[in-house]
Symmetry: C2
Subunit: 236 residues, 2 copies
C-alpha cells in the first residue's frame, strides 16, 4: 500500500514509476508512533528532520503563556510537515498529535536526494508548500470574517476535499476524530459554542455526526453556508 502523500500527488503531477518509488520511499524509513496529545515537535525545538503524516491527525499550534491555545493548521495523512525544512530556523510553534499518529521522520538530505534529477518530485513538494500556504490564508479569512456557523461549515468542506484526495473519505462520510475543544481551538471559539453550532448544522439537515464520523447530508447547502470556494486548494 502506497503512502498517502503519493496518493495525493498522483492526482496532480504526472509521476514516472521511479518518481513514485522515490516518493513512496520517503515514508518507509524511520516510522514512529506518537500517542494522542503528545508533541511531534516542540515549540522551542530546533528541528533537523521533517515528518510525513502516515496515519492519524495532528496539528500545528501555538500555546500562550496563560494556557490559551491556537491551532494554526490541521495535518492529515499525506501531509508533509515542512517540505523544505532544511532552510528552517528555530520553531516558532509546535506540532502535536490530536489522535494516535504514525509518522515517518525524513532527513533533509533524503529530500535533497529525492529531488535530484527528478523535477516531478520537486514539483510535488512545491505543490504541497503552496497548498499549505493557501490553506493558511483561507484560515485567516475564516477566523477574521466568517461567523461561527460559516467557519464550521467551511472547515467541514475543506476536510471533505482534503480527505477525499487521500482516499480517506467514504463518499460523503469522513472520519472526524477530534474533540470539540480541539475544533474550538482551530476555529477561535469555545467548545460550548462549537457544540451549539454543530447542533445548528445538524438540525439544519446539513450534516450528521456520530461516533467520530461526519456525514455530509447536503454538500451544496454546506458550501453555501460556509462561503466555500474550492479554488484555493489548487486541485487540478
Amino acid at each position: 500500500m502506497e503512502n498517502p502523500f503519493v496518493r495525493k500527488m498522483e492526482r496532480h503531477v504526472r509521476l514516472a514509476p521511479e518518481d513514485r518509488a522515490v516518493l513512496d520511499g520517503l515514508g518507509r524509513l524511520h516510522v514512529r508512533h506518537v500517542a494522542a496529545r503528545q508533541d511531534i515537535e516542540g515549540q522551542q525545538s530546533d528541528p533537523y528532520h521533517t515528518h510525513l503524516i502516515l496515519d492519524g491527525w495532528a496539528c500545528r499550534y501555538k500555546q500562550f503563556p496563560d494556557g490559551r491555545r491556537a491551532i494554526v493548521a490541521l495535518l492529515l495523512p499525506g501531509d508533509l510537515c515542512d517540505p523544505f525544512v532544511f532552510r528552517r530556523a528555530r520553531m516558532d510553534h509546535a506540532i502535536g498529535a490530536l489522535t494516535p499518529v504514525t509518522v515517518a521522520r525524513i532527513a533533509p538530505d533524503q529530500i535533497g536526494e529525492a529531488i535530484r534529477g527528478r523535477p516531478a518530485v520537486e514539483e510535488c513538494l512545491w505543490r504541497e508548500l503552496l497548498a499549505a500556504t493557501a490553506i493558511h490564508r483561507e484560515w485567516i479569512a475564516s477566523v477574521g470574517r466568517r461567523s461561527a456557523i460559516e467557519r464550521l461549515a467551511h472547515l467541514f468542506c475543506e476536510l471533505h476535499l482534503r480527505l477525499t484526495r487521500v482516499g480517506l473519505a467514504d463518499g460523503m462520510t469522513l472520519p472526524m476524530p477530534v474533540t470539540q475543544p480541539d475544533l474550538a481551538d482551530a476555529l477561535g471559539q469555545t467548545s460550548v459554542h462549537i457544540n451549539r453550532t454543530l447542533k445548528e448544522l445538524r438540525t439544519g439537515g446539513l450534516v450528521a455526526l456520530r461516533s467520530r464520523r461526519l456525514t455530509i447530508r447536503d454538500l451544496d447547502g454546506l458550501r453555501e453556508r460556509g462561503l466555500f470556494d474550492p479554488a484555493y486548494l489548487q486541485l487540478s
Copy 2:
C-alpha cells in the same frame, strides 16, 4: 539608494557586493506606480510576474461575495509578494494598494537568473518566504485567540520591528498610513471597535497616534499587552 529588500536582507545574510548588486537590480526594472485602493494583482488573475514593494503599503486580501473583506497580510516596503511565483497557479486572493504604492515588477526568469550560482541570493528568497509564513501563523493565532486590545498591540509591535528592519521607523515612531477600516479588516473587527481599542491603548499610555504616525510610548508594556514574542520574525 538601495532598495529596501536589500536593506532588510543585509542584516541576516552575508552578501558579497555582486550579490547585493543582483538583488538591487531586481528592484530597478519595470517600476510602476499604483494608486491607493487599486489592485496590484486581481483575485482571479493568473499572475506571471511577482512584485517587490518599493514604497507605500499594500495588502493581501480576500473579498467575500457579500462585501466583507479579510486582509490576510500587510505588505511593507521591502516585501516581495511571492518569492517563488514561478510555481504558482491561479491567485486565490488579491493584492491591493492601501496607500499610493510604487512596486517593481519582476519576471520569473529574472529570479532564476539572480539565483543561479548565488546561494546567498537564494538564501534571501527563502528567508523572505519562511518569514512570511511565520507571520501568517502568528496572524491566525492573533485573530483566533487574542482579544481586541491584544491584537492591536501585537500588530503594532510587529510593524515596529518590520519597519525598523527596512529603516523606515524613526526610533519609536513609525508611519501608520492605513485607515481604521483597513486595520479592522486586518484584525477581524469593526472600525468602530478599532477606534475604541486605540483609545484604550492611548489612555493607557502605551502609544500615541497623530497624523498618520504612531509613537510607541512604552514598548515593554505594549509587548506584554500583545503577548508579543519577536522570535517568529526570524531575526538574526
